[in-house]
């Protein structure tokens, strides 16, 4: 078949659009509100209608994240590492799709978009390797001045609301999401308001990566509208404000104080750089367990 014929055939075929949906509790619902909003590329061409999530969607996502927390935080670190690595594997296979989506979303050339996607895939691999190392780096035994065994271990904070960066629609998103779930937290991530398509598509990869439903929940819509009920929610333990501007960030931090959420304030980040461990430790608690050691005296007796 000649090239010419091929092109003709393609032109005649009407493509199938994707209905972009939320990813909550391992399922792909529309917004309960029935609302959508238009998403365009950098040249203002229509790309898709995406769900305009409501307060109720945010609350449903919290329920899903809480339900998933016990099993995910209780999974072995090795298991979590393998699942994060699996996410990278699945992304690699759909690389071209993400390059296209990122190029459209951020107005990048194909090669620049590819660099973003490659870095995002590699970031999953980086955090996959962290799951079973972070406890050794930030925890350990404490040499207390008494006959006690004393061990400090990091534990995940719980349900974390993540406002993804507004500009870096995919690499930024992965860079704030992966550290949260690597350590056993579950997440509700609010996609970039202007460029939510890569985030919504990520849900499709997460759903096929052995990641239990509810560990990551993806919402699209107006960041301020979704973030306010999340910041005020009594069953959310922490919030990453990366995608909030200064005015919104302050308002959300005040709301978050009501149940003393751990708050990661917005800060300038170069997402192409290798991250440190700060985004993991921001959502870790330290638990310290004491136990008497007793002592073996000359007679060999002990407690």
């Amino acid at each position: 078949m000649s090239d010419k014929n091929d092109k003709t055939e393609r032109a005649e075929r009407l493509s199938v659009f994707k209905t972009y949906k939320l990813y909550v509790g391992g399922k792909f619902p529309r917004s309960e509100s029935g609302r959508v909003y238009e998403v365009s590329d950098s040249k203002d061409n229509w790309l898709a209608n995406v769900p305009l999530s409501s307060r109720k969607d945010a609350r449903d996502a919290v329920v899903a994240a809480r339900k998933a927390f016990g099993a995910w935080s209780g999974a072995t670190a090795y298991n979590r590492g393998q699942i994060l690595y699996r996410i990278a594997e699945m992304l690699e296979g759909r690389r071209e799709q993400y390059v296209r989506e990122v190029a459209d979303a951020e107005g990048l050339s194909k090669s620049k978009a590819a660099a973003q996607v490659d870095a995002a895939i590699d970031r999953w691999v980086w955090y996959a390797g962290w799951t079973d190392k972070i406890a050794q780096v930030v925890g350990g035994g404490n040499p207390v001045a008494g006959p006690f065994f004393n061990l400090s271990s990091p534990e995940p904070t719980g349900v974390v609301a993540v406002l993804a960066p507004q500009e870096s629609s995919f690499l930024g998103l992965v860079s704030v999401l992966a550290p949260v779930i690597a350590t056993g937290n579950t997440a509700i991530v609010v996609a970039s308001e202007k460029s939510p398509l890569p985030a919504l598509s990520l849900g499709e990869v997460l759903a096929t990566s052995d990641l239990p439903g509810g560990v990551v929940n993806v919402l699209s819509g107006r960041t301020a509208e979704i973030a306010k009920p999340l910041a005020a929610h009594q069953d959310v333990n922490a919030i990453d404000l990366a995608g909030a501007d200064d005015v919104l960030a302050k308002e959300l931090e005040i709301a978050a104080a009501d149940n003393l959420k751990r708050v990661l304030r917005p800060q300038p980040v170069d997402y192409t750089e290798t991250p440190g461990i700060d985004r993991m430790t921001a959502f870790l608690e330290t638990k310290t367990v004491w136990h008497p050691t007793g002592s073996l005296g000359a007679s060999g007796s002990s407690y």
Binding site: V137, N142, V144, N150, A257, L260, T286, K287, H291
Partner: protein
């Protein structure tokens, strides 16, 4: 119950401490009067005797102290870590030298028994300074990257339950990492912080590195809100902690909070009863229960409830309440009339809600603020005494049948500071400890503290850790 032993009085001499009739604020290395000339009195809670008259800091004084701290920061942070370390080692040693004096002073101003200030507070205070002194020139190796930087001026607000120990927890890591400090002690216990100011003078600490501002909540709020403060550290109630979190929202101030608790002390049927009873008593009657990590909820396995409670009541009947300066005293005075009112009101509510109240026969002194050791049985999780932090010598007893139920009940609180587990079965300890959402878990022991051991809460007990390598992070720009 008649005591098996009669004790002769054995009071510690208060002659070792010389309390001046009045004290100023400690700003920029000098004791000064408050800008508006205000003063307040500090009383001994066991006798209601006025101990001294203290300058009361206001907003203008806070501003002055922050300016002094800011000025001192440049040189202090630029000192080689090894030099900062030596100042802190000096402070640790002077505290050890003056330990008895400070123990008596603390007992007078706070009301807690001398055996606690002498054997717990003061040794821990000195150890804390000694521990963080050693970090000052080793910060490159603390796991926060090369040459981690201090934050600047630390505003610190501390409570009255462990006045000098909370000061040590705040000031030692702040200075070791190169910050300077404005600290507000609680209004009912300002004296040991002012004596600490004198220790800074003896140690030759540069002026302005440590500033002490006795005062009330308004002074604390002014410290927290001051625009030139870079770091806020607070230990106290959860309600105030939330207010502080709102105040610093939107700023670049780093915040750590160590707040309230409603710790569960879980006793399984195979626990060594006598040891568990000692742990329960220590957990709730240490410092009259005025401890954020107190084991204020006893969760006992149903099958041993009667045996344990009999034993516990027998033990409570031997506790000696009275003169805090007496070396044989177990239970001292409640810190203030305000706190006594709060305890009394919650206990009355416990009775009104149907829980069963019990106290040993106990003679209450005629002056001062006192509350007999109290135990509530027939407590349900819905009772206010099972939910609210009482911050007094009051234990609420609940029961459970299975480990799962124990964990569910223990975690059924917005707090998450401490918990205790009593069982002879090692795997059960680890399984239960793993499920408890609390920052410090004592297994087959309770209320143990050490400068190397990170301390702090989950959930509404606050965030950040004090103590250990972890405690450095709160004062570093990382």
């Amino acid at each position: 119950m008649a005591s098996a032993f009669e004790y002769a009085p054995a009071p510690e001499s208060r002659g070792i401490v010389d309390i001046a009739p009045s004290y100023g604020l400690f700003i920029d290395g000098e004791f000064v009067e408050a800008a508006d000339g205000k003063v307040f009195k500090t009383v001994s809670p066991s006798t209601e005797e006025v101990l001294s008259e203290i300058a009361q800091a206001g907003e203008a004084d806070v501003d002055r102290a922050v300016k002094a701290a800011r000025k001192a920061f440049e040189k202090w942070s630029a000192l080689p870590g090894s030099e900062r370390a030596k100042y802190l080692f000096r402070i640790a040693r002077i505290i050890q030298e003056r330990s008895r004096e400070l123990a008596v002073l603390e007992t007078l101003d706070n009301g807690k028994p001398i055996k606690e200030t002498r054997d717990a507070d003061l040794p821990l205070v000195a150890a804390h300074f000694f521990y963080y002194a050693g970090w000052a020139d080793k910060l490159d190796h603390a796991g926060f990257g090369a040459s981690p930087k201090p934050l600047g001026v630390a505003g610190q607000v501390i409570p009255w339950n462990f006045p000098l120990l909370m000061l040590a927890w705040k000031i030692a890591p702040a200075l070791a990492t190169g910050n300077t400090v404005v600290l507000k002690p609680a209004e009912t216990t300002p004296l040991s912080a002012l004596f600490f100011a004198d220790i800074c003078r003896q140690a030759g600490l540069p002026k302005g590195v440590v500033n002490i501002l006795p005062g009330y909540g308004d002074a604390g709020a002014a410290v927290v809100a001051h625009p030139d403060v870079n770091k806020v550290a607070f230990t106290g109630s959860t309600a105030v902690g939330k207010e502080i979190a709102r105040t610093v929202a939107g700023s670049r101030k780093k915040l750590t909070l160590e707040l309230g608790g409603k710790g569960a002390n879980i006793v399984f049927d195979d626990a060594p009863i006598d040891q568990a009873v000692e742990g329960i008593v220590n957990g709730i009657f240490f410092n009259q229960g005025q401890v954020c990590c107190a084991g204020s909820r006893l969760l006992v396995q149903e099958s041993i409830q009667d045996e344990l409670l009999d034993s516990l009541k027998r033990r409570l009947s031997t506790l000696r309440l009275g003169d805090p300066l007496d070396k044989n005293t177990d239970i001292g005075a409640i810190n203030s009339e305000e706190q006594l009112t709060r305890i009394t009101s919650l206990v009355e509510q416990g009775e009104a809600e149907g829980a069963e109240r019990w106290s040993p026969a106990c003679e209450i002194p005629t002056s001062g603020y006192w509350f007999a050791p109290t135990l509530f049985t027939n407590v349900t999780q819905a009772h206010r005494i099972a939910r609210d932090e009482i911050f007094g010598p009051v234990l609420s007893v609940l029961t459970f049948r299975t480990p799962d139920e124990a964990v569910a009940k223990a975690n059924n609180t917005p707090y998450g500071l401490s918990a205790g587990i009593w069982t002879e079965k090692g795997s059960r300890i680890l399984a239960v400890a793993n499920k408890l959402r609390a920052g410090v878990i004592w297994s087959n022991t309770f209320n143990k503290f050490d400068p190397t051991s990170p301390f702090g809460g989950y959930k509404e007990s606050g965030f950040g850790r004090e103590g250990g390598r972890h405690g450095l992070e709160a004062y570093l720009d990382v």
